[in-house]
């Protein structure tokens, strides 16, 4: 479905087509483009795909365990006092695909989101908060005793 919409966007498609034929993009990169930042395999690439350059902020609170015995289920709550926050994202730096989720907040919704994430190994958990044109970040290390991505 996404691919169809993607291909219908003729301007975007032709631009990508030119980039592919010019050897600027490999087909794998084009695939990743469709999945967006969720396909990025490093924190740096995820931030690049999200097109953000976050600024560190002390006004973001990450509530997560210091030590997670079971990496398959790590409870995380992100909240912020930054005015005008509209989006919260959670990333796990050392996961195979770091971006876990993005939560877009509607009107009247408090700047907070809770979920449970998987962590393959000990890693920084990074919270991003979008407010206006700016993106802020905070991080907290979670030590993982038993990884949650193996099988």
């Amino acid at each position: 479905m996404k691919r169809r919409i993607f291909l219908q966007g003729t301007v975007a498609a032709s631009a990508v087509g030119v980039a592919v034929s010019a050897g600027l993009l490999t087909p794998a990169q084009v695939m990743a483009e469709e999945l967006g930042a969720f396909a990025a395999t490093t924190l740096e690439d995820a931030l690049k795909a999200m097109a953000v350059t976050p600024e560190e902020s002390k006004d973001i609170t990450i509530k997560a365990p210091e030590i997670a015995e079971n990496g398959a289920v790590v409870p995380v709550t992100i909240s912020t006092t930054i005015a005008g926050a509209t989006e919260i994202s959670i990333l796990v730096a050392n996961n195979p695909t770091p971006l876990a989720g993005t939560f877009k907040l509607g009107e009247g919704v408090e700047a907070m989101a809770s979920t449970r994430i998987k962590m393959g190994k000990t890693s920084d958990v990074i919270a991003l908060v979008k407010a206006g044109d700016k993106v802020y970040s905070a991080k907290q290390e979670v030590k993982v005793t038993i990884g949650g991505c193996g099988g």
């Binding site: 969720f38 770091p98 989720g101 877009k104 509607g106 408090e110 809770s114 998987k118």
Partner: protein
Amino acid sequence: MAIKLKAKLADGVVEVKALMEHPMETGQRKDKKTGEKIPAHFINKVEVKSGDKVLLSADWGASISANPYLAFSYKGAAGDKIKLTWTDNKGETDSAETDVS
């Protein structure tokens, strides 16, 4: 597949909590018997509405735990009709509704 959805009002703020039944396969896990990779199968979109108003719209990857949990709060009132809908990477979808109490 099932969804547990609760919405409780306290001091003008509604806390919405949801638990969705879903395997959330990353696509990186191997079947222990066959040694073959289990295909990725995860919820990639969740939308929570109150009537026509979108409260929360989430984009997820496979790093969200199996049987995903989601909680958030908004300024609301008793009787608000809350509807949660998820869609996964295979195009499957499920939804649940509840009234704020």
